[in-house]
Symmetry: C2
Subunit: 226 residues, 2 copies
């Protein structure tokens, strides 16, 4: 592994981040996968992250506890806010305030310690569900910040934030992962997955995912509970 450049890859256990990890490997990086235990409702996601990390052969997988539930403000971390089924206008209640900023910041700190200059994140602006921190201008602004914020940036290193899915449709994403041999049956996208990782089939995340497989003409390996 020693001649491969290192990359920190944010890995949630969902479809997008698993595809991103497969892309990082295709590009020749030795991956250090980073997941967060942040009080998300769908803890089945973390189990999926472990499965994906093992299956794809990461160099290291770190799970950081993070008290986003102490901050609240999202249906994904606050039990008092219901997860919606209907799509709807604007930024949904599943938006977690500043989540990708927090995740990327911790990935940046770890990258600096590892001597990695490449960070991968599976954000997607097309089917992005209205989250502001999934847009290309957010990624560009974070990359700029990373190179001002760190010793590595000041001393001439250059961080790159890779968001390889950002302009892809869900169908393109699943086609890419399938071409790279990714087993999407390992991943869990559902906001309301149960302890076994079975999906509800009705939340925004389930609907985008199912639509992706349908548009790609691929069979959907998602395990639904109904």
């Amino acid at each position: 592994m020693s001649d491969q450049p290192k990359a920190v890859v944010l890995l949630s256990g969902g479809l997008d981040s698993a595809t991103t990890l497969a892309i990082a490997h295709e590009q020749g990086f030795a991956s250090h996968a980073l997941s967060f235990d942040y009080g998300q409702r769908h803890a089945a996601e973390l189990n999926a992250a472990h499965r994906v990390a093992a299956d794809l052969g990461v160099f290291e997988h770190k799970v950081l506890p993070l008290s986003l539930d102490d901050i609240g403000g999202s249906a994904l971390t606050d039990q008092d806010i219901a997860v919606p089924e209907g799509g709807g206008e604007g930024i949904p209640v599943t938006y977690v305030p500043a989540r990708n900023t927090v995740f990327l910041s911790l990935a940046l700190g770890w990258a600096e310690v590892l001597g990695a200059r490449d960070l991968f994140v599976g954000v997607n602006a097309v089917d992005y569900s209205g989250y502001p921190d999934c847009r290309p201008e957010f990624i560009a602004a974070f990359e700029r910040l990373a190179n001002l914020a760190t010793r590595a940036g000041v001393e001439g290193g250059r961080f790159r934030i890779h968001a390889p899915l950002i302009e892809m449709s869900k169908a393109e994403i699943v086609r890419t992962g399938t071409r790279l041999g990714l087993d999407y049956g390992l991943t869990v996208s559902c906001y309301r997955a149960d302890a076994e990782g079975l999906a509800c089939g009705r939340c925004d995340s389930c609907r985008f995912r199912a639509q992706g497989f349908a548009e790609a003409g691929l069979s959907d390996p998602t395990r639904y509970r109904d």
Copy 2:
């Protein structure tokens, strides 16, 4: 309190952040103080943060656990790296990778939940000890990011990152806090403070602090253990 605008103030328990909190109050903000329990050696800092928050009358004080010690890479979080006494060239080993980026990101998330648009951070570029994430260009880049990263930014709110100490010398900082009635005896700056908050008098942080009181012509209330 209801007619005062809310602000999230990063509060470490040291001299700079306590002064920043006093300035936020002078400017009329209702403060929501945020501290982190991040595996720092000087846990006495957190006790100081509680004392300062109580003394200055914050609206709320939240302490978030944060596993920066899982990431390592700094003398402040890694017991295997010694805290230096000698000053020296370049960015010191007490630099914590991406620390202010991580702290501001979590402050941003909490601010968004609270409906606050103002964040205060006690960074200082003059006596900044060589930390890259204490420079004005870092603060400007984070403010720009904040307005791209969040629902509030997208929907037309405007976050401001206040760094009122950024151009001040340590002497100006202690003069300002003293004018505002701040009791610096409550604060702990030492990187190697003991459990009672007694300072070593020799680390970089102690030296900058002592120099500040000397240059301001003010008596130094710091409790040293020697």
